[in-house]
Symmetry: C2
C-alpha cells in the first residue's frame, strides 16, 4: 500500500511486499520462512527469489510478539574481565548460538542480592527466555536461590545449596587433589592461601584442603587469605616468606599464586626447592610462570556450555528430566612449582 504513496519509498520491505512480488499471500511467505510443510517447491522457489530480490529480513520484534519467544537468553556475569567469567561467558555464547539463541549480557560489579535481582529483572523485561547467572559468591548464590523470577534460570558457580539448577566444578575434589599431591611429595603439611571468605568457591577449596589434611593426619595451619588478585597473593607471600616452617602452599587460584611466587622470589625462597606452590584454575599463563605452575585445571568454557545446555533443556524440554545439579571434575596439572619436600 505504501509502495505507491510517493513512488520512491525506501522503507524496509515487509512480508506483504515479498508476497506481492511472488504472487502469493503473506501467509505463504511466512510458511516458507518457517519451513512449514505443504508448500509446493515451485512456490517456495518463487518466494525465495522474491526474498532475495528485495533483501527482505523478517522483523524479529513482530515475530517475538506473536510467538512469545524472543530467541534471546540473558547472562548475568560478575566482572567479565576476569579469565573465569570471560571464559564461561564465551562458552555460554557459543553454546547458545549453536542452539539458536542470542545472548544478552549484563556484567555486575557487585554481586549482592539486589544487584542480581535487578539484573535478572532487567533482562526479563527485555524479553529473554531464560537466564544464566554466573554466581560465584555466596551472597549471590543465596540471592539466586531467593530470586522470585518468572524466567527459567540456571546458575554457574560452586555449591549445591541453592534451589536452582546449577553447574559447578568439583572444588573440594580439586583442592583435595592438590593438597594430596603435596602430601604425597613428602610435605609434613600444606599451607593454604585462600580466596575471600564470602566466595563459595573459596570456601569449598578451603574445605577440600582442610579435609585432606585431616584425613592424612597432618596439622592444619592457619589460613592466609587474599582477594583472588595477584596483588593480594604477593602480600600474603610476603608474610608466608617469613614463616620458616612453610614448605608447601596451595593457593586458591593462579593469580594469587603468581603474586606468591613473586614474593617468594624476592625473599630469596626458592620454588620448588624450598617451598612448593600449587594454584587453581590453570589460566593460560600458568605454564609460563617462574617456575611453571602446578595447578588444578578447570574448564570454564565447558562449564558455560553445560549451564547453557541445562537452560535450553529446561526451556525446550519442558520435562525436567535432566539432572538439575551438575559437577565438572577439575584436573591436577603437574608442572615445576611443586616438588618433593627436602629437609635441610
Amino acid at each position: 500500500m505504501a509502495t505507491d504513496s510517493t513512488g520512491t519509498e525506501q522503507r524496509q520491505p515487509v512480508m506483504a511486499d515479498v508476497a506481492k512480488l511472488a504472487g502469493v499471500s503473506h501467509q505463504t511467505v511466512s510458511r516458507v520462512l518457517n519451513g512449514a510443510p505443504h508448500v509446493k517447491p515451485d512456490t517456495r522457489d518463487r518466494v525465495l527469489a522474491a526474498i532475495r530480490e528485495l533483501d527482505y529480513r523478517p522483523n524479529s520484534a513482530a515475530r517475538a510478539l506473536v510467538t512469545r519467544r524472543s530467541q534471546a537468553l540473558g547472562v548475568v556475569s560478575f566482572d567479565s574481565t576476569l579469565y573465569g567469567p570471560a571464559s564461561m561467558l564465551d562458552g555460554i555464547e557459543r553454546a547458545a548460538r549453536s542452539a539458536g539463541y542470542f545472548v544478552t549480557v549484563t556484567s555486575l560489579r557487585s554481586l549482592d542480592g539486589r544487584s542480581v535481582q535487578e539484573a535478572v529483572d532487567r533482562l526479563r523485561d527485555q524479553g529473554v527466555e531464560g537466564v544464566v547467572v554466573i554466581a560465584p559468591q555466596t551472597s549471590s548464590v543465596s540471592a539466586v536461590a531467593r530470586l522470585s523470577s518468572s524466567v527459567p534460570l540456571v546458575a554457574v558457580g560452586s555449591g549445591d545449596q541453592a534451589r536452582v539448577p546449577m553447574v559447578s566444578v568439583g572444588n573440594r575434589y580439586g583442592a583435595g587433589e592438590a593438597t594430596g599431591h603435596l602430601i604425597d611429595l613428602g610435605h609434613r603439611t600444606v599451607h593454604h592461601l585462600a580466596g575471600p571468605v564470602n566466595w563459595r568457591e573459596s570456601q569449598d577449596r578451603e574445605e577440600g584442603w582442610r579435609l585432606t589434611l585431616q584425613a592424612a593426619g597432618c596439622p592444619v595451619p592457619e589460613v592466609e587469605r587474599g582477594d583472588w588478585s595477584a596483588r593480594s597473593g604477593y602480600q600474603a607471600g610476603l608474610r608466608i616468606a617469613r614463616l620458616r616452617e612453610v614448605t608447601a602452599v596451595f593457593c586458591a587460584n593462579d593469580h594469587m599464586a603468581l603474586g606468591l611466587l613473586r614474593a617468594l622470589h624476592e625473599a630469596g625462597r626458592a620454588v620448588p626447592d624450598e617451598i612448593s606452590v600449587i594454584g587453581f584454575d590453570d589460566i593460560p599463563e600458568a605454564a609460563y610462570f617462574t617456575p611453571p605452575l602446578t595447578t588444578v585445571r578447570q574448564d570454564f568454557g565447558e562449564l558455560g556450555r553445560r549451564a547453557l545446555e541445562l537452560l535450553v533443556a529446561e526451556l525446550e524440554g519442558g520435562a525436567h528430566s535432566s539432572p538439575t545439579q551438575l559437577e565438572i571434575g577439575p584436573e591436577l596439572v603437574l608442572r615445576r612449582s611443586a616438588g618433593p619436600a627436602v629437609r635441610r
Copy 2:
C-alpha cells in the same frame, strides 16, 4: 476480558489489565509508563498502584514493534576469552547500560570477512539498533570497511584505513615510547618480538618500533614473531636467548613477554641486568611477573566505552558532528624488567 474466562487465568498482565484496574484507558497507562506530559498526578498514582499490584511488565517486543527501536546493541567480538576483548566488552556493556541499551554479544573464532559479515547480519536480523565490532585483525578491518550494513556500526581496533567510525589506541605512539625508553637507557638497539602479521595492532606496534629506531639512528634488527600467546613468546625467547648481542626486547604484548621472560630465565640470562624487556597492554598480572614488567598500558575499558559513546551519538545524534576516528593514548608504565644497558 480473559480474567473471567476460566476464572484462574495466570497470564501475564497486559496494559489493558492495568488500565481496567486503575479505571483508565490503556493509553493513559502507556502515557504514565513513558512519562508523557498532561497526566494528572492523581491518575498517575492510581496507574502506578495498579502496575505494582499486578506486577505488570511492559512487553518489550510489542513496544519494539511499534516504536521501531529495540533498545539493543550488538557486539561482535573476537575470542572474548582474551583480556583485551573481554575488557572492551565489559566497557561497552557498562556504557551501553548507562545509556539505556542492552548488549547482545557474539564471539567469533575467526575474523575473516565472511564471519564478520555473518555475525553483523545475524545481529541486525535480531533487531539491534547498532553494532560495535571489536576488530583487531587487518582482514576484519577491511571486512568491516566493506560491510554492506544497514545498521550503524563502530569499530574498536587499530588503524584508520576503514571507512567506518573507529576508536583505537595509539599503537605506534606506545611502541615508540617503549622503544625510545630503551634507547634512552643506553641500549645500542632494541629487538622486537612482534605479533601475527595480519593483525593491525601488531603492524602498528612494529612500525612504531621501527620508526623510533630509525629516527635514533639505531640499526633495525630482524623481527621475531609470535602469535600473542605466552607459548609463542617462550619459543621466540629460546631463539633470542641464543643471540648474544641482544640487550633489549620490546614485545608486542605482555603475554609474549611473559613467555620470553621464562625462556630467558631458563637460559640463565638475567632480566634486566643482561637483557631488558618491555611489553604492551599492562595486563593485571604484569606487575607480578619475575621481574615485574615494564609495559605500555592501554585502557581497554575506556576503549570500549568510547566506542559505545560514538555509536550512541550516531544513533541518537543523527547529526554526525562527533569525530569519527578516535585515538586513545597509551602510557608507558615503568617497572623492573627494563634497565640501563651495561657493557661487560
